[in-house]
Every structure is written in structure tokens, then in C-alpha cells.
């Protein structure tokens, strides 16, 4: 597989939803260490809403399903993560627009857009012990893969590995600001829930092309 078609994007969205729903309690548990233990419930509500609209996602434009998934997440999640995950998909969709095929360069473009959208909305950055700490390294890995003309498989494998490492790194972060700040040293050893969901997203992408 060289490029993802719109239908592949829909399949990936469907698979991501399945994975998230299966990990609801785990994500709640992770959020419980640094926050209010509702991230799993919240993103699960979002993914359930997404599952319901999967039949409506058919289109030749790859951006369509992503954008629609984003607005669905925004409308169904609430909390802090709703706008953030919504933005990730909405910005990704907007970056792809009417494109009918997604290659490595497109993947790099779309997640760069997602990353910048999240940073702006969340007023946060790398090192704040948030989902950005998984999204940023994955995005960088994709840009490197695009520069190196890597295959889709290699690009997504690298991105997934980078996201996984990013999640691992959140364990060692004591944030200077934001929600993880107040727990201070107590946050050490715990990985961020939102970052974990991002890693799951990249793993679904990587597994799909294999």
C-alpha cells in the first residue's frame, strides 16, 4: 500500500474508535493519576458518536471523513479533551481538503496542522505533559520520513514508535504549567492519558498499512 484512499481513512477512523472504546477504563485510570479520571469516558463518548456516523463518511475526498470526525468529537466529548481531539481531526481534515490520496507528505502536513491547532487552542507546548508530547514527536517523525522519501509503512511505523516514546517520556515530566503542574513531583512515573490516546491513533495507522 502506497497511499491511503478516502475509504482507508474511514477504516482507520473506525478502527481507532474501536481501540479507544476497548481502552476506556485504562484511559480513565491514567487520567485518574493526574486529573479527574474521566478522559476514558469522555473520549469513549466521542468515539461512540463517531461509530454512529461512519456510514455517512463515504466520500472521495480524504479530508471529509477526518473533518466530520473532528466536529463529531467536539460535539460529543466536552471537557478539555473534546475541543483538542476535535481540533486534531478537524485540522487534519482541513489540511487534506479535497485530496483523494494520502501519502507520507500528506500525513506529515495533516499532523503538523493538528499539532499547531492543538498548541494554539490549548495554549500549551511540548513538555507540558499533555497529548502534545506524543503528537509532536510523531509529527516530526512524519516530516523526516517525507524528507527521506520513506515508504508509508516506514513513516507510520516511525511515527507510531515516536508517539510511544513520547508517551513514555511523559512519565518523567514535571510540568511547569497546565493541569499537571499542581501535582508537581507526584506526577512523576505516570504517563499522560491524552498522549496515550494519540499513541493509539498512530498505532492504528501503522497497523493498517501493514
Amino acid at each position: 500500500m502506497d497511499k491511503l484512499a478516502a475509504v482507508d481513512v474511514v477504516n482507520i477512523i473506525a478502527e481507532f474508535s474501536k481501540v479507544i472504546i476497548a481502552n476506556r477504563d485504562y484511559l480513565n485510570e491514567l487520567d485518574g493519576k493526574l486529573g479527574d479520571a474521566d478522559f476514558g469516558t469522555s473520549i469513549c463518548a466521542g468515539c461512540c458518536a463517531v461509530e454512529k456516523i461512519i456510514p455517512e463518511l463515504g466520500s472521495t475526498k480524504t479530508g471529509f471523513a477526518l473533518g466530520k470526525t473532528g466536529t463529531t468529537l467536539v460535539k460529543s466529548m466536552g471537557g478539555a479533551s473534546g475541543p483538542l481531539f476535535g481540533t486534531i481531526f478537524m485540522k487534519a481534515g482541513k489540511a487534506l481538503g479535497e485530496t483523494t490520496e494520502v501519502g507520507v507528505q500528506e500525513l506529515a502536513n495533516m499532523f503538523a496542522a493538528s499539532l499547531s491547532g492543538v498548541k494554539t487552542l490549548g495554549k500549551s507546548d511540548v513538555g507540558d505533559k499533555t497529548l502534545i508530547d506524543a503528537l509532536a514527536p510523531a509529527s516530526i517523525a512524519l516530516e523526516a520520513a517525507a524528507a527521506n522519501n520513506s515508504s508509508l509503512q516506514v513513516a507510520l511505523a516511525n511515527a507510531s514508535a515516536a508517539a510511544a516514546q513520547g508517551v513514555e517520556d511523559t512519565k518523567n515530566l514535571v510540568a511547569n504549567r497546565g493541569r499537571a503542574h499542581y501535582v508537581g513531583e507526584r506526577a512523576l512515573g505516570h504517563q499522560d492519558a491524552g498522549a496515550t490516546a494519540i499513541q493509539m491513533l498512530f498505532k492504528v495507522f501503522a497497523d493498517y498499512v501493514n
Binding site: G32, G35, D36, A37, D38, T41, S42, V74, K75, S76, M77, G78, G79, A80, S81, G82, P83, L84, G86, L121, G122, K123, S124, R177, G178, R179, H181, Y182
Partner: protein, 332 residues
């Protein structure tokens, strides 16, 4: 978990139904949205005032819908921000064409969802402005915030902005007095017991039988320190000291006082707190212009209280004095 509810994931809908049934003369519900709207809104020519946030803080926020206060409120699940479409629909329902002020407490979720709604409102030709309330002097950052939390001082923002809008001021003017209120209000709370989010089913922290948490947030977020419970006088002194030195409130200032119950604290205890508040203010030459004691911004069944002080000038006084006829805040 022992609650008078039907099911953890029904509490929001059941509550909204119960509220509309209780107060049909004050509010109606938007079909398909968790928004309650003033039965009289939109009011021709008047700037709309809306507030939104998670539920579990009742009477905040829908309880402040009524004449001289809110035109609408959108309500999320317990302690969880509503999504942007609910903010947007509340704004649309409140808009008479004069624009809408959103009163938002400083929590990441509320901020982001309302910001998205603000952006969406542009496409719907609704002029929206936002004011962010961050009155809690306890901690700089907390579970859901960057910067200070918004707590009970929000009630004063509703009151002042609501009164200004009722006078016919334009959106910029309403926003100005709302921001002036935010600039002059400081609050801090403490808790004796945790609360239980219905869907979680268990408390997310524990306090020993003789412990209190000073600076506790309205979702059970940690405060400054956990200490042995002492007297009401001492607890009040600690909270008020932090509040007074923060602004700072100075000798000669005139203030409005709000002693707010977090849910399970008897009114008796709130009045006992107020006794000490009035004594400390008297000692310091801070003149109390008006006092409110009761439950205005709660945290489910948490036991505890917060104190808010709002420094007043002539304009704020006259806006605070204006009559209001909302469900839970009435003033002749």
C-alpha cells in the same frame, strides 16, 4: 455512593427536566440542547448574558437565569464543560441582535469549548464576547486550569453584567463592567469532605475525620494545604487573610461579601463564618456594603465554604443594587 438519582448518566437530563417543571415562568429548555433559556429572552435591544459550565454546581448556572441576570445557560455533564454547540445555541437563544457576553470560569475545558463556540458564532452572525473569571486566590494552577480557577465570585459577574445589560448598555460596556468585576473580586474556599461524581461512583480524594483542605476547588481539586480542623474563626481568618492581601483590599474599601456553601454545609455554619468575616472587615476598616450568605456555587455534596470579596466603586454598587429576579438570586 448514596444519591437521590435514577442513574449516573441520567442526572443532567433529569435535573433539566425537573428545573423546567419547577420554574416554567423563568426558563424553557432548547430542544436537543442542554441549554436553559430565560422565558423572556431574547429581549429586544438588550445584550444577552450567558453562562456555561459543567453541572454539579447548582444553582450555578441555570439558577441565575432571570430578569437582571442571565438570559441563558448551557450545562455540561457533572464537572465537565458543555461542548461548543451548546454554548453556541445558548448564545443564539440569548441574542436579540445586540450581541452576547459569555461568562466563563477559567477551566481549560470551559475555555476551549467556549472559544470554539465564539468562533462558530461568527458564522451565525452572533456577536459574542467572553469574560473569563479567575477569582480563586488559592493556587496558581490546578487540575483543569492554567492560571487561577473561577469559583463563587462568578455570581457577582453574573449580577453586575446582568444589571448593566438590563440598563441597555452595549456589548463593549457590558464586557467592561464584567471585566471590572473580575478585576475586583477575590475568593477562596475550604472543604471538610469530598464529593462524588455520579459516573465515577466514588470520591476522588479522602479527608480524615479531623482534616480540612484549605483552598479546595469546586471540583475537589487540591488547595494549599491539608490541616487539622480548627475553629470557624481560625478557618475564616486564614481564607480572608489570603483574599484580602491578594487584591489587596485596603482600609476604606467598600466591599460586597459572599459566604458560599459548597453543598453539604448547614446555613448555620455559613452564618458563623460570616460573623468572623464581618469582625475581620470591621477591624481592618473594610466597609461591608452588602452580604450574601447561602449556596450559590456548589460542588455536589461537598461540605465546605468559600468566601468572596468584591471591591466596589459607585458604578459597581449601583449595578449590584439593581433588582434581580432569577430563580436562585432575587433582590428587590
Amino acid at each position: 455512593m448514596k444519591k437521590i438519582i435514577n442513574a449516573p448518566d441520567h442526572v443532567l437530563q433529569d435535573m433539566l427536566t425537573g428545573m423546567v417543571a419547577a420554574h416554567p415562568d423563568y426558563v424553557r429548555k432548547l430542544p436537543d440542547y442542554n441549554c436553559l433559556v430565560n422565558r423572556l429572552s431574547p429581549i429586544a435591544g438588550k445584550v444577552g448574558i450567558i453562562s456555561g459550565g459543567g453541572s454539579g454546581h447548582e444553582p450555578a448556572h441555570a439558577g441565575f437565569i432571570g430578569k437582571g441576570m442571565l438570559d441563558a445557560a448551557c450545562i455540561g455533564n457533572v464537572f465537565s464543560s458543555p461542548t461548543p454547540d451548546h454554548f453556541l445555541e445558548a448564545a443564539k437563544a440569548a441574542d436579540s441582535g445586540a450581541g452576547v457576553l459569555m461568562v466563563i470560569k477559567n477551566y481549560s475545558g470551559d475555555l476551549m469549548n467556549s472559544q470554539m463556540a465564539e468562533e462558530m458564532a461568527e458564522f451565525e452572525d452572533v456577536k459574542v464576547a467572553r469574560v473569563i473569571v479567575d477569582d480563586d486566590v488559592a493556587v496558581k494552577n490546578s487540575t483543569y486550569t492554567t492560571g487561577r480557577r473561577g469559583i463563587a465570585g462568578t455570581i457577582f459577574v453574573h449580577k453586575i453584567a446582568g444589571a448593566m445589560a438590563a440598563r441597555g448598555a452595549d456589548l463593549a460596556e457590558v464586557k467592561r463592567v464584567a471585566e471590572k468585576t473580575v478585576a475586583n473580586v477575590r475568593s477562596m474556599g475550604m472543604a471538610l469532605t469530598p464529593c462524588i461524581v455520579p459516573i465515577a461512583g466514588k470520591a476522588n480524594f479522602h479527608l480524615a475525620d479531623d482534616e480540612v483542605e484549605i483552598g479546595m476547588g469546586i471540583h475537589g481539586e487540591p488547595g494549599i494545604n491539608r490541616c487539622k480542623i480548627t475553629t470557624a474563626d481560625e478557618i475564616t481568618s486564614v481564607l480572608l487573610e489570603k483574599i484580602i492581601t491578594d487584591l489587596p483590599f485596603a482600609k476604606g474599601d467598600e466591599v460586597a461579601v459572599l459566604v458560599n456553601g459548597l453543598g453539604a454545609t448547614p446555613l448555620m455554619e455559613l452564618y458563623i463564618v460570616n460573623k468572623k468575616v464581618s469582625e475581620i472587615c470591621a477591624e481592618r476598616g473594610i466597609k461591608i456594603y452588602r452580604t450574601y450568605v447561602g449556596e450559590y456555587m456548589t460542588a455536589l455534596e461537598m461540605a465546605g465554604a468559600s468566601i468572596s470579596l468584591l471591591r466596589l466603586d459607585g458604578e459597581l454598587k449601583s449595578l449590584l443594587d439593581a433588582p434581580a429576579d432569577s430563580i436562585a438570586f432575587k433582590q428587590f
